[in-house]
């Protein structure tokens, strides 16, 4: 192959590479938006103890995206003939495992009390207790305790878990406020 032919091939390749980069600049790929929808009073009650104020904006955005994805995964799993997350125990395992993958080790524990408040929000949501009765510390503790009982992932429970994830997403993400 002559040097001229080699030069033409290199030029063509470079042209395509440049064109691809140019396309990405002119037509940036869509960044998935976090679907932060304001929760109803019930979901707000579930998540009221979560303190988002002290969390850095960049972390709030990252966590918000996690809960947005969690909502989608729980919902999509339920659409399968044989869902993998068929008990709340398996949901717990999934959450712990996915967080291990999503959160860098040095980030774990950066916000003391955040993990515990998220656990409690999901437990209260799982309990199915009427949110309007969560007016005393005793009532809240009882709901948390009930929500930690092992139970199958019924359609109703799955929806409550999704709703809780969406409410936390709204609470954490900057766009939600």
């Amino acid at each position: 192959m002559s040097n001229l032919a080699k030069g033409i091939i290199v030029a063509v390749v470079l042209l395509f590479v440049w064109k691809d980069r140019l396309d990405s600049i002119v037509h940036p790929r869509d960044v998935p938006a976090v679907a932060a929808v304001a929760p109803d009073a019930e979901a707000k009650a579930w998540t009221s103890a979560i303190q988002a104020d002290g969390i850095l904006p960049v972390d709030r955005d990252y966590y918000g995206r996690y809960f947005d994805a969690l909502d989608w995964v729980i919902g999509n799993d339920g659409a399968h003939d044989a869902p993998l997350i068929d008990t709340n125990e398996k949901l717990r395992r999934f959450i712990a495992g996915s967080l291990d993958a999503a959160i860098e080790k040095q980030m774990v524990g950066k916000y003391p009390g955040l993990g515990e408040s998220l656990d409690r929000a999901f437990a209260i949501a799982a309990s199915g207790v009427d949110a309007s009765t969560l007016t005393t510390p005793e009532a809240i503790e009882k709901a948390v305790s009930e929500g930690l009982a092992p139970r199958p992932m019924t359609k109703a429970l799955r929806e409550r878990m999704r709703k809780c994830a969406r409410a936390i997403c709204w609470k954490l993400t900057i766009k939600g406020e």
Partner: protein, 333 residues
Amino acid sequence: MPIFNPLDAYNNGLQGARVDPRADEMLVDLVMRTGGDPDGGRVAYNWGLEGAGKGKLSLLFPYVEQCYPGAFPGPAQLWGDCTVAAAVRGALSSMCVEVVLGKPDEETGLSEEAPQVSDVARKNAVIAQESVFAYRGFSDDGWSCGAAAQTIMEKGFLLRQDYPSLGIDLTKYTDQTIHIGGSKKPSAAFEAESKKHRVRTVTVVSDVDAIGDYIASGFAVVFCHSVKWSSTRNEDGYSPVVPGEWLHSQSIQGWDARPITIKKYGEPLALVLNQWAQWNTGPRRIPGTDTDIPEGSYWTKSSVFKRAKCIAYSSILGWPRKKLPDYGFAGHI
């Protein structure tokens, strides 16, 4: 007192498993009255179990090994109580599958927790077969599969542990414990305790392929028969049927319907767990795996069960699972 040798006793005509059509009728009646279905074929269809065992290897005993290492085969029978020895081993398998897989109870929706027992209790197969045999209503040994299943559903069972309030220590299967109850009806306190842990329901499986479907779905099958097997396993752990008769009961703990197995034996094989401890010899490795079948067990051709009464055992009541520690966030975010 001469030492009881179960192999010799059954070879010599011990009637451990008796035919009792009346008990079978009562079992059907009980299953129907408690919301179950005694037709195993219909249950398999309604619950979507059909075809579950087709073309693959399904094993229950590893679940028991995971919950209670060394529980199988358990102690050798001390007399003709094979019906309950097989029944409790079947119940233990169904329970351990539930526990390991976190399968919620079909009716309550609650998952079960494996009850804690001592090392001695574990080596004695965890569940006290004497606590079921105690309800038979006579002092001699021998019973029917239907009566044993009915009792384990209705009266339940006790674990291998000390029950000071009942005045009995069932930790170990002994010449003393085998004589509790019988012609003397168990006390109300005994009944109240054993009723805490019952097999929820059973169903009679008459189609051989359906047995594999139940095993593959995590439900043990207990059977009564009059067939006799060789005490020597071949290279695959298979034991042929030999001339003679055992009036006996055992449990099915595995099903091998892999094409390679069917090609060699012409049909699926079933893994039978006997409760005579280490009574037979020969290789135990499952071909194509690194798993050994339990001592005392052997593979047999599934067509043998056309000549047996087979009963599948469902989930067990009791031992609500412990609460979750959290929902997986603490320590991970």
